[in-house]
Structures are given as structure tokens and as C-alpha cells.
Symmetry: C2
Subunit: 219 residues, 2 copies
Amino acid sequence: MQPRIVEVRQGILKKNDLLARELRRRFHDAGVYVVNLVSSPGAGKTALLERTLTELGSRCRVAALVGDLATDNDARRLARSGARVQQITTGTVCHLDAEMIATALEGWDLDALDVLFIENVGNLVCPASYDLGEALRAVLLAVTEGEDKPLKYPTIFNGADLAVLTKIDLADAAGFQRDEALANLQRVRPGIEVLETSARTGEGMDAWLDRLLPSAASA
Amino acid sequence: MQPRIVEVRQGILKKNDLLARELRRRFHDAGVYVVNLVSSPGAGKTALLERTLTELGSRCRVAALVGDLATDNDARRLARSGARVQQITTGTVCHLDAEMIATALEGWDLDALDVLFIENVGNLVCPASYDLGEALRAVLLAVTEGEDKPLKYPTIFNGADLAVLTKIDLADAAGFQRDEALANLQRVRPGIEVLETSARTGEGMDAWLDRLLPSAASA
């Protein structure tokens, strides 16, 4: 039975890749910079995004799509920033795919946007295989998760353009070994850019916003 | 294409359920109590298991199967406890299934065991759908992950017999809202048993071990 599964999955991935290519063309033509945020559940995607939408929203036009199995809690929380936010509820599906993005964006005027964030389902495995047409894939790693995660989930770290260490205000309390985590990131994805942030204290937020803004301007 | 996927997945699940039933019969006949540990990546499965194997190992015969996409770091770390530990490397597969467990146990004398732990792949979505023949499914939730996880990943919490709050030594630093987390657990899975632990300080470990021992004795 195993070969049959692989075959079908390849079929889905090819279909996804075609849709993702089409999305990427639309995003490029509209000049919207698209950021796909992936991480474990609870690594702080929503907290980072909440602060990002508020702070970036005063400097350019931002919006977000938010993937979750259930609940629209995150979308309601993020909408308080004033940005346009839409929930994508996946049910039992462990990732977002390009078709879900295309459907969620029906009726949107992409020309009216500078940056679109996509908050993926919290999962370090499945989202790695689904291109969403993004320009930047950022993988978040909370300092409370342990330094070994890049080694244990290499595919998603290898496929990311940027790693964002989150919750750095908890680094001391958690006994986080920063050098070891950075070495593991470089081992899995040599040369990967790394930012260090705390959405709670605001530390590192400027560097994160500065990383996004020039790309937003030239998208 | 979607219906075709669902159809194939149902086929796999049925096959998995048959294999899980067979495993459960073998575990029962051998008198081994099997615990399936599921959680997000970095919620502390390995830390809890490391301490559990050491402390429980002086009172009964314990072993562990450890699932990971890549690396055998956890298995090597856990083997220091003196317990028999075997790695299951899943590659890009986001969960363990009953066939992987059956294969890993080839050649094992189950009669020589009292408790077998299965550390699943770190993932709050996919492992929910795969019965491994376990007697107890324990879902771990680290206090650093946020109180809303049961609502956002309801299937895995709903399918668990026991919830273990982990890293409670970090609760204050993380601003963990305990009452809210407990209420969310009960909302998703009314009546679920909850234990609170810190593998670092040892807090709550006795209650966890006491929970396992009578079951181990009567398995």
C-alpha cells in the first residue's frame, strides 16, 4: 500500500506547485511581498504577527491569512491590529496548501497591499512540503523548545529562508544554549539568516521589521 | 483530487486499526502497559521520559520506542537510563503508525517488560489519527506553548486519556494562565485527567509515576 500513497502525494504536490507558481506570479505582479510563517504549535507565530501587523501597519499596507485546524481565535486577535485578517480553517489537515490560499484571497485587491503574512498551521513537518507562492519562508524557533529542533526537523529548517528565534526573554529561565542552537541551524541550513526576537519585550522587533520593509518596498 | 486522497487515507487507517488491534492483543497477553506520548515538538517528551525511565526503572521493567524524522539523539540520550531504547526514524512521515511499532518490536521479548513508552513524532496533528495499540495516550502541553492549544488542536486532545502539563517551573516566567489552560482542556475533553510536572525540578514526577505503576502491575 505504501507505494500507492507516495504516488498520490506526488500528484498533490505537483498540483500544489503549479498553483503556487500561479500565486507567486500574481503576488509579484501586484507588488505584494508574501511571508509564510512556519513553526511548532505555540512557538509564538501569532504573538510575533500581532506586534508586526501593528508596527508595520503604520508604515505600509499589511494583511494576514491565518491557518488553524479549529477556532478563529487568532484571526480575531490579529484583527485588533486594524489589518485585514482572514482565517483559513483546515479541519484535520496538517498544513496550508496553495489552493487554500487562492480560495481565501478570492475578492481581495492585491494591488492595495504591500505585505501579506501567511501564518501556517503549527507543525514542523507537513507545511515544509507545500509551497504557498511566498517570497520569504520564515521558520520560528522558540527558545523554550530546545536547541536540537533543527536537527530533528531538518526538512522545514532546510527549506526556510530565515530563522527567527522567539521568546528570547525566556532564554535564561529555560536554560537556552544559544551557541548550540545557532550551530544546529547552520549545520542544517548553512548560511541561514537568523533573527532573535521577543514579541513580549519588543527586543529584536526593529531588526525584523527592517528585514521586511525594503523587500516590501521593492516587491 | 480531494476525494481520492480521503479514500486512500481511510484505507491506510483501516489497515492501521487492524494492526493496532493485533498489537494491543500482544501487549495485553504479555502483560506490558503501553504509553503513547504525543505533543508539539519541544514540549518535553524526551525530558519527561528520561527521568521516567530512570525513576520507574528501579521499580519495574521499562523500555521505550522513540520516533523522530531524523537523528537518533533522543534514543542515545534515553539509553543512558539503562532501559532498552530503540529509535524509529520516520524520514518525512509526520507520525508513527502501528506497522512501524510492529517492525521495531521484532525480536523483542515482551514478556520481559512491564511498561513500554512510545515517544511519538513531535506533532499535534497527524499522530492523533494513528492508534498504536497503546493502553494510555498521554498528550503533553508545555506551559510555554500557550493556554489555547487544546482549542486549536482539538482532535489530539480529545483522543488523549491524560494531559500532562510540562515545564511548570517556567509557568511564572512565561505568564502561564493555569486556570484558562485547565478550562480549555476540560472544554475539549470533559473529565480529562490532568497532571502537572517539571522534569527539571522533579515537581509532579511522583504523581506521574504513581499513575503508571498500578497500571503496570495489572497490565
